[in-house]
Amino acid sequence: MRDAPAILPERGLADRLTATFWRHPRLLLILLLAPPLLWLGVVYLGSLAALLLQSFYAIDEFSGVVVPEFTLKTYADLLRAQNLDIILRTLLMASLVTLASALIAFPIAYFAARYARGRWKALFYLGVMLPLWSSYLVKVYAWKLILAREGIITWFADHAGAGPLLARALDEQWFGGSSLSTSPVGTFIVFVYIWMPYMILPMQVALERVPNTMLEASVDLGASRVQTFRTVVLPLALPGIVAGSIFTFSLTLGDYIIPQIIGNSARFIGLAVYQFQGTAGNLPLAAAFAVVPIVIMLVYLAIAKRMGAFDAI
């Protein structure tokens, strides 16, 4: 082995390329990034640009054809009272859903982060991930079965003697409908069910990061369980809660399937987009409606960033 060279001889193109990449790591980086960035840049950003472009076109009211000329007419249409109603209703729903989700998700995340160990921890993780990943439509469908007038909730209410109570609640104007599956409260429940799981994991991560020593210090200084929770745990976990709320809020904002299947056919932003591009054939107005959640989410993300949510993910 006396004469073995320190550098092996090149054996062909593959070796030469390896050497080139070794000398120019940037080249490899560019080659790796080019295909995915081209895809996302052209397909995704390109489409978003087309969306924006489309929203500045308007539809000719007589022929129903899209006129490809720059105009603000569509945005003026967007600001009509009935459309503002849709936007406000959607914002209210998304906020309520996010709040309710936080209330339901927090105990799960808190238990999983602080008390679950080993087997239980894995079980909690699966217990959150499986419903989160399960088929969206199947989950919505399950609720149609549950909330139906002849369904399981009515049955339970009747057998628990609460049937009249349920009927009276459904008579309330803002609350009810002919059955739970055609009532706003039904829409709300299903929104919470579908989008709440997205909140649990970011919350759990944030709670896991709260150091035990701080809790001990708080107890040593004489704080009660509730005080420790309110003054130590909650402020430290808040960025994670906000981070989790991004998904729940954003996904509720754009959903158009749930209000279509469960609810009193009151319109939400997503549903408006869907109907304007479909039956109404008004692509520009649909595009303008789709821009609304983008703007809302940009504002939401800016606020979340200020609250430190991005350090929490």
Binding site: L40, V43, L201, V205, I257
Partner: protein, 268 residues
């Protein structure tokens, strides 16, 4: 005060929360066996197995099923290639614009699907592209990239750079290292990412309605049945199939990636 014991209230709240997440899905199974086809009567007046045979013989279910499988397979393939490339680039290097790229990958799934859908629909309209299988795949692959990326990048980070150097020291060129060292180490993470992407694509409906035109994937078929029900238990049978096709890959993906990834953050 002992701090390592959960209070009863917390246990109940956490347990009730998990039950809320899981119980509704069970009803799908129950209603697939009901003898009542016109309503969602509870409890079912009788139980029968006939709906499985009826669903099997319904000619309108098979083409959407094939289309969904085709779309999911091709979207997954594209997402796996693109997601792995981006993960390889992002894992071990710092460069200008890195944060922007990770935001760009995440956006298609963080923004509501209706935006992605409407954006693609606008693009097809502006560029006069007719709807086809490929317009569906274009959308699906875009939001599946992040799934593969998340799984792959986590594995890349855990992979010790030393073994790649060792491979080079032993005389392997980059391609041999990729084939014999990198790929075997990445395989299970890629498989997991691919299966999650497949599951996500197979049951996606929000973006698909905007990119499918007149074509019908299985979720779109289900959606029309939900809006205008015909034989309701048949929809339940299909729902069970959709549930199984998404549930099993998710479970498998979990077992493929669980070592050392008990912390959250993987997944969507």
């Amino acid at each position: 005060m002992r701090s390592d014991r959960a209070s009863l209230g917390l246990k109940i709240a956490a347990g009730a929360g998990l039950a809320f997440l899981h119980l509704p899905i069970l009803l799908i199974f129950l209603y697939a066996f009901t003898t009542e086809e016109k309503s969602y009567q509870f409890p079912p007046p009788g139980l029968t197995l006939k709906w499985f045979a009826v669903a099997w013989n319904r000619a309108d279910i098979w083409p959407p099923l094939y289309l969904s499988l085709q779309v999911a397979a091709l979207s997954t393939l594209i997402a796996m290639i693109l997601g792995t490339l981006v993960a390889a680039a992002m894992a071990n290097s710092r460069f200008f614009g890195r944060d922007q790229i990770s935001l760009l990958i995440l956006l298609p799934i963080a923004l509501p699907g209706v935006i992605t859908g409407m954006a693609l629909r606008s693009a097809f309209s502006v560029m006069e592209i007719p709807f086809s299988v490929w317009t569906i795949i274009l959308g699906h692959a875009t939001f599946c990239i992040v799934i593969v990326y998340n799984n792959a990048v986590a594995r890349f980070r855990r992979l010790h750079g030393g073994i790649l150097e060792a491979s080079a020291d032993l005389g392997a060129n980059g391609f041999q290292t990729f084939r014999h060292v990198l790929l075997p180490n990445l395989a299970s993470a890629l498989l997991a990412g691919g299966m999650l992407a497949f599951a996500l694509s197979f049951d996606e409906v929000i973006v698909t309605t905007f990119t499918a035109g007149q074509q019908s994937t299985l979720p779109i078929w289900m959606l029309t049945e939900l809006v205008r029900p015909r034989q309701r238990p048949v929809t339940n049978v299909v729902a069970i199939v959709v549930f199984a096709v998404t549930f099993l890959p998710i479970l498998a993906a979990y077992y493929l990636t669980r070592d050392g990834e008990h912390t959250a953050g993987a997944g969507k």
